[in-house]
């Protein structure tokens, strides 16, 4: 079967999707390891804790690289989706923080911010892309 010909931005987006999948699987495994496994060695313990953080940084690098390699229209859509998602997540997190102070709402774990951003970004980028 012949390989489908893709333009360079389409190929870059496909590469990013594959890498993102790999990074997310590694991230999930590393979070499980950091949560469940407490090695005897101090160094190994810190390495297990550092692994998910490094994978998040790697994801961010791949994400920005995919935007850099995209064409002008897709870059515009991505930047709009990032702006919208960042604004919405920051707004809701700040509002929740106000409720924590004012009415004693439960603490919002800050590790949820990036997944919340990624979820809103995924939906908004898809909607913007379909409308375009």
């Amino acid at each position: 079967m012949s390989k489908p010909r893709l333009s360079s931005p389409d190929a870059a987006r496909r590469r990013f999707a594959l890498r993102q999948g790999g990074i997310m699987i590694a991230f999930a495994l590393s979070v499980f390891a950091a949560t469940l496994w407490v090695p005897q060695s101090e160094l190994l313990h810190w390495l297990v804790i550092a692994a998910p953080l490094a994978l998040l940084a790697l994801w961010a690098w791949e994400f920005f690289k995919s935007i850099r390699d995209d064409d002008e229209m897709m870059q515009m859509l991505a930047l709009r989706a990032i702006s919208f998602s960042a604004l919405l997540v920051l707004l809701l997190a700040t509002m929740w923080g106000m409720l924590e102070i004012l009415v004693g709402a439960p603490d919002l774990p800050s590790f949820l911010l990036l997944p919340a951003f990624a979820s809103v970004y995924g939906v908004s980028a898809t909607v913007m892309s379909i409308r375009r």
Binding site: P9, R13, R132
Partner: protein
């Protein structure tokens, strides 16, 4: 902005994917350009016009000037 990109592409017998490869943009961008839902930047408009051996105003029409240029 109106454009004749779809007609020019079909004259060449190219698919949207072929044109995307020639212009180094995504197929989605070609689709949006042909449907008039996205106006390209000036550098991309020049690349498109040069690819088909035309002037920019032969490919794109903002509806404000003389329509065709021979």
């Amino acid at each position: 902005m109106k454009n004749s990109l779809r007609d020019l592409r079909k004259q060449k017998g190219w698919t949207q994917e072929d044109l995307a490869i020639e212009l180094e943009v995504s197929r989605q961008t070609i689709n949006a350009l042909e449907a008039g839902r996205y106006d390209p930047s000036l550098p991309l408009a020049f690349r498109i016009a040069r690819l088909f051996g035309r002037h920019i105003e032969d490919v794109f029409d903002d509806g404000r000037g003389p329509t065709a240029r021979e």
